[in-house]
Symmetry: C2
Subunit: 463 residues, 2 copies
């Protein structure tokens, strides 16, 4: 029996098995695998071991592979005449602060219902990426049950540092290039266009993430005694960060837009036809007016244009009440989303030069580097992309759109640069999933039809 012949039974099996699939997802979500905080190191390892055991149950030869950070899970199995695919996902999740905004404990996953009746899976990792990862694994499990084997040769690469910049995965991929270089890669870490319309992500923005720490005086000072004469690092930092954008929302770093291509007119027309209004995109999070470049559509601002963001900032007294202090230090985390051929290293250098040029004599700076990835694009005529699009469209009863995604998945850039391998990105996240925020969720339908989608895609690719 071919995978395509088995497909109807596989889809039935997925439907019948939904409750059990969900419980397996919950098991994974209960593990507090916050990779960016070293206090959760043990839990990250526990998550890796859990995933490896689960892959073993599908007949994959799976093992933990060490890195200088959290371990990578690699699993290999399947046979047949189809292409050999590499599936990439991650078992780590974002921190959960601010904890007091969660309606229930973040690591106690549960089903809930939204007003209007949408069923949702709630908890940290519900979507990013445990929920999405499990759609692929559950599709494989259904093939294994019905067909007795996986539908095509699969290598799994499940990492534990995606949420802190995949900082050791690049070396891991380079060192294990032979093992990981497959016909193409599949990734499930992206979004649908809307709850009815499936999407394939054909471009991803890159990322440069910087930490800037300024130090002026060698101690905190009383603003009465020293105020007026002593340099204040918060004032300096505010000036520097305020200068990052001009009044039209353009980033002012010299050379920042080098390598940013204008979209071909027909692609821009396709995007315009989606008629994504500011109200529609921003209304769900309490906003109205796009804050990016004034001469760009919202869909460009979030997908095809580069950005600069202040992700965090701290300095001085931030507790209850008043403290009349001039702080010694101030810190900001600043990141840039990249598109086209923007060079991460040049942008990082330009940012550091920009900061240094704005510092008074009495202000020292230290920079920290967290993650660096160029943008990525998939050719529209890739044959696997064509098959995937047809399979997805069949499951959802609506033509899958091909879009650019605003977030980076650094590994996809590495696959292209190091292994010369293209990646097809299919995911079932929705804009209101509260990814990286309190009360993260994943629609039950995303999980269920996501699993069915992968079954159809794998059958199509195996032909």
């Amino acid at each position: 029996m071919t995978p395509t012949q088995a497909l109807p039974a596989v889809l039935d099996r997925i439907d019948a098995e939904l409750d059990q699939s969900l419980e397996r997802l919950f098991e994974l979500m209960r593990i507090q695998s916050i990779s960016t905080d070293s206090a959760y190191q043990e839990q990250c390892r526990t998550a890796a071991e859990h995933v490896a055991r689960d892959l073993g149950s599908l007949g994959l030869a799976a093992e933990l592979r060490p890195t200088p950070g959290h371990p990578v899970v690699v699993g290999k199995g399947g046979n047949g005449s189809g292409p050999h695919v590499l599936f990439y996902g991650h078992y780590d999740v974002q921190p959960v602060d601010p904890l007091d905004l969660w309606e229930a404990p973040p690591f106690a996953p549960r089903l809930a219902e939204l007003p209007g009746g949408r069923k949702i899976i709630v908890g940290r990792g519900a979507c990013d990426d445990k929920g999405q990862l499990m759609t692929f694994i559950e599709a494989c499990r259904a093939f294994k049950t019905v067909l007795g084997r996986l539908p095509l040769p699969i290598t799994m690469l499940i990492e534990g540092e995606e949420e802190c910049g995949s900082k050791h995965l690049f070396d891991f991929v380079k060192q294990n290039a032979d093992e990981l270089h497959r016909d193409f890669a599949l990734v499930c870490d992206t979004s649908m266009w809307d709850p009815q319309t499936p999407a394939i992500t054909t471009s991803l923005r890159g990322l440069v993430y910087e930490e800037v720490k300024l130090t002026c005086a060698d101690r905190d000072l009383h603003s009465g005694l020293f105020g007026g004469a002593a340099q204040n690092p918060l004032r300096v930092l505010a000036k520097v960060l305020a200068a990052l954008h001009d009044e039209n929302g353009r980033v002012t770093l010299p050379g920042f837009y080098d390598g940013v291509h204008e979209l071909p007119p027909e692609v821009r027309a396709d995007l315009a036809a989606l008629e994504l209004s500011a109200e529609e995109f921003l209304g769900g999070v309490g906003l109205k007016v796009p804050a990016g470049e004034r001469d760009r559509m919202v869909i460009e601002q979030i997908a095809t244009r580069p950005t600069a963001e202040i992700n965090g900032m701290i300095g001085g007294y931030t507790g209850q009440g008043a403290k009349t202090v001039i702080p010694s230090q101030a810190m900001a985390k600043v990141s840039f989303r990249l598109v086209g051929a923007q060079d991460p290293q040049k942008i990082r250098d330009s940012f550091r030069t920009f900061v240094r040029a704005r510092l008074p004599i009495d202000c020292k700076v230290e920079f920290g580097e967290f993650g660096s990835a160029p943008a990525i694009e998939l050719p529209f005529d890739n044959p696997a992309l064509v098959k995937t699009r047809a399979a997805l469209s069949a499951e959802w009863g609506k033509k899958a759109v091909m879009v650019g995604e605003g977030g980076s998945i650094p590994i996809v850039g590495d696959f292209k640069r190091v292994l010369g391998m293209d990646t097809i990105m299919v995911g079932f996240a929705l804009d209101d999933d509260r990814v990286h925020s309190p009360n993260e969720k994943y629609d039950l339908i995303s999980f269920h039809k996501g699993t069915r989608s992968w079954a159809r895609i794998l059958a199509a690719l195996a032909e």
Copy 2:
């Protein structure tokens, strides 16, 4: 025997009693009376009770008087023909964060020695204001022992909310005006000019303290999904705060300099004659270049000119590593030092208007108010000032200078406005006392000669 006749014996007694005086100071410093943090409420009360007991031992009728916040200690006693003075001090202290920068626990006071041999008292409150307060109390104690009574009628007003804006003292003073309106007030919460030169503070800068909280989206957002389109409150706040100063260091709030008087040429000449260099003033804290108005001397920048400072700022992810978040909220604490006839309410209004005018539609603001006090000035021909200056000069063997102080003591403004009462401010703090910072200290000689100074001043005032 008159106080002046008793003075030589009183000074001897102070010298002989130094170790015991110090132990009494340490007892007070061990109480963790951090007024701005409600977790320390009990300890504040303990400090008040301790002070009241101590005043009782000097023969003062002392009691705790309730306020909506921490209690006020009021003590009354003494007789004789001299003027009736009101002594003001505070038993509360600043928070101790960042705790990891303290070389020893902040509430375990100790004697230490600086390179070069200066003996210092180290711990939170060593100077501000427990050390300074105890110089006055120990001088009174020596009179009580030698003379059997206080040298003149004294009312003590020791509050517990100076470090959080004296927010209930204004009403307390208004409600108890008859009891507190004395001939003039004495305050020990200011600095020497340098370790050899005593100083009387004849002007104090006022203070307006604001908290600004901006909210954009109703939740934290993923900077990949929303970056480019969603408004970032840190970006808005940086822009607002960066606009507070122009490139010459002047504050840009409309109307900010209304009521700021130019110094008379002779007073400006006196200040210039002190030859305070930027290096001298800033070198001790690791700085070199004055950050205030470019066309002003350092001594003007810190004493006779108004300022705007960012005392604290926080938003987004500030922990270890990277988090690609667009925060929902950002907060800053901003304060203004006032001089001359600047109106605190007008400055506060101008600031709020300034902030609101710079907010995009998608940004809401909440303001918090912490403290508000106009600047204050003492006439140079005040007779008590003349006596005090002579007594101080005799103790230190060097003419006491009359200076403006950069920090506010809001109560001094209330004494003037509500009670029509002038205040003479004499203190023994030094610029390197690390007031409000880790490892706060007070020179042993400040404590010892400060006590002797008060004995001389009280004797002179009693004549």
